[in-house]
């Protein structure tokens, strides 16, 4: 079930000239949301741009008594819609629709004894915080592999640390963490893990997710990815957000990622058919 809330913006934290975190007063959505689900945000009440934008639910916002009062999204300012969201002011109201899509947990229920390793690139961090809270509540071991171009792309890693995750940070320019791609420490740690079973959860640029899926396949770690195709409606109405995945019949089919995803078992994804 999805609800549409004309939500007051509670906070707008600019993280840099590119990134901000917008908090919305939307208790109904916060109560219903499960880890990895998304919302469709309408950047304006007018027609420019016309369509909503999909965003992973980043934080569940809570009051002093820990009651859910809203959700936040991690926005990257890349176009007309996201630039409006970057400039939005507390007190403004924007329409947000959700929660939508399947949860990480719908794809892989927590396998007993598995460690959860999260692999995030840039704003791909967004769907992991709710999963980390869930994992922490279960007292299961977790790690965050988090990569960006440079230090200014890496945010909120400490939130994960506070929840008990061990961190592996990478930057391509070496300004923070290890220099190089996030798959570097991931591969090393996978190889060094001995017999411990690990589940990989990945979200970020498509080439990164594809590389993680390949590592997961060759190093025997079940892998779940959260894909981010262009979406029209988020409700299954328009058939624009399709991704090609292998079906129960083992043949590849286009499926709507708003309904069957955005989270998929990486084994099913036909990577060469993904638009970038």
């Amino acid at each position: 079930m999805a609800v549409d809330v004309l939500a007051e913006i509670l906070t707008n934290r600019a993280l840099s000239r590119d990134y901000n975190v917008l908090g919305f007063a939307a208790p109904e959505i916060a109560r219903l949301a499960r880890p990895g689900q998304f919302v469709m945000v309408r950047p304006t009440s007018g027609n420019d741009p016309l369509l909503r934008r999909p965003f992973s639910i980043f934080e569940i916002l809570r009051d002093d008594r820990r009651q859910p009062i809203g959700v936040s999204i991690l926005n990257k300012n890349v176009g007309v819609g996201t630039s409006r969201l970057y400039a939005a002011r507390p007190g403004d109201r924007l329409s947000i629709l959700g929660p939508l899509g399947r949860s990480w947990l719908d794809v892989f229920a927590d396998a007993p004894g598995h460690e959860s390793w999260f692999v995030a690139g840039g704003v791909g961090l967004a769907p992991f915080l709710t999963l980390a809270e869930h994992t922490a509540a279960d007292k299961r071991p977790m790690r965050l592999f988090y990569g960006g171009r440079s230090q200014s792309d890496l945010y909120y890693a400490s939130l994960f640390e506070d929840l008990g995750a061990s961190l592996h940070l990478t930057t391509e320019d070496g300004t923070a963490g290890e220099k190089g791609r996030v798959t570097l420490p991931l591969e090393r740690e996978l190889k060094a893990r001995g017999g411990r079973p690990v589940t990989l959860y990945a979200c970020g640029p498509t080439p990164m997710m594809r590389a993680v899926a390949a590592l997961g396949a060759s190093l025997h770690a079940p892998t779940v990815v959260s894909l981010e195709p262009v979406m029209g409606c988020g409700m299954g109405g328009c058939y624009s957000c399709v991704v090609k995945v292998s079906g129960a019949d083992q043949h590849p089919h286009f499926v709507r990622s708003c309904l069957e995803g955005p989270v998929f078992d990486a084994k099913r994804v036909q990577w060469e058919a993904l638009a970038h």
Binding site: M1, N47, L50, L51, G232, M235, G237, C238, Y239, A275
Partner: protein, 306 residues
């Protein structure tokens, strides 16, 4: 005052004149978890061929000023899976199903129509002869007067369900296609489907859609669609289902005044899936303010400028 939102489209009675447009509301069940789909005037299903279709590779949509282009390529489950997997639940929910049917040949249209006629729960058939996004089928009939007549009269012979050809705006004189539909035995016509269009990424000099061309929908097309509904209303006696860019009750009423008996809403549902009650409430409010008892009093009620 007593006012009645129901409308008559030939032999078909709709609770209200506001229908979800084909290709913009899945098969209807997608929305059933979030809203009462049976409260809509009707649901025009995603276009159905006899067999399943994969559709075009992404990217399938791109936004343009006050609108969007789509080239979905009629991905769909085919009529047999529709009647087996969707129709029973739609029927249980009490949805008024206007099934949008496609074909690459006359025989295919007829076969799809036959399958649907054999099942309970189908209120009407909308003949998609206007999809601009696939090469074979549909548009080749919809862009030719004899093709339009042939499809309508062929389907007429195999079903007693109301048939509603959906017209393309990508022709010089849309009214002549409404006339060909009337002569072929249609019960109503619906218009408009999307306008053939194109968008280019100037940095890469590549088309923004994988299919290169797509159909323009949304508020950008509304004034042209209103004009076309008006022209058809002047030309035929058939009831008209108007659409193109409707976003508000005012837009609904504009189409009714131009000559529509009912309307469909597509793109605006993507923006606001809960738009339906807003539109019916706004229409009811208008009728109350103007002392109108029945929606049909609004249809074709355009006054001359003085």
């Amino acid at each position: 005052m007593a006012r009645d939102l129901s409308v008559q489209i030939g032999s078909l009675t709709l609770k209200n004149p506001i229908i979800a447009a084909s290709g913009c509301f899945g098969y209807g069940l997608e929305y059933a978890g979030s809203l009462d789909v049976s409260a809509l005037g009707g649901v025009a299903s995603k276009g159905l061929f006899l067999k399943e279709r994969e559709g075009h590779p992404p990217p399938r949509i791109v936004e343009t000023p006050s609108g969007m282009l789509n080239a979905i390529g009629l991905q769909g489950i085919g009529v047999h899976r529709y009647v087996a997997e969707k129709l029973p639940e739609l029927r249980r929910l009490g949805v008024t199903n206007i099934v949008n049917i496609c074909g690459t040949t006359l025989d295919e249209y007829c076969e799809v129509a036959r399958v649907l006629s054999d099942h309970e729960g189908v209120a009407a058939l909308e003949l998609n002869i206007s999809c601009p996004n696939i090469k074979e089928g549909g548009i080749q009939f919809g862009c030719s007067l004899t093709g339009t007549y042939d499809v309508v009269s062929a389907v007429r012979k195999v079903t007693t369900l109301p048939i509603i050809p959906k017209l393309t705006p990508n022709v010089t004189d849309v009214a002549s296609f409404a006339r060909a539909s009337e002569e072929g035995g249609a019960d109503a016509v619906s218009l408009v489907n999307t306008f053939l269009a194109m968008a280019i990424d100037v940095e890469t000099r590549t088309p923004k859609l994988s299919n290169m061309l797509g159909g323009l929908s949304g508020p950008a097309i509304r004034p042209i669609a209103v004009r076309m509904v008006y022209e058809c209303h002047q030309a035929v006696k058939l009831p008209i289902i108007g659409m193109g860019g409707i976003q508000s009750a005012t837009d609904v009423i504009e189409f009714l005044i131009a000559g529509a008996s009912a309307v469909q809403v597509g793109t605006a549902n993507f923006v606001d899936p809960f738009i339906w009650t807003k539109l019916t409430d706004g229409l009811a409010d208008y009728m109350d303010r103007h002392g109108i008892g029945r929606v049909s009093e609004i249809t074709g009620s355009l006054r001359k400028n003085t």
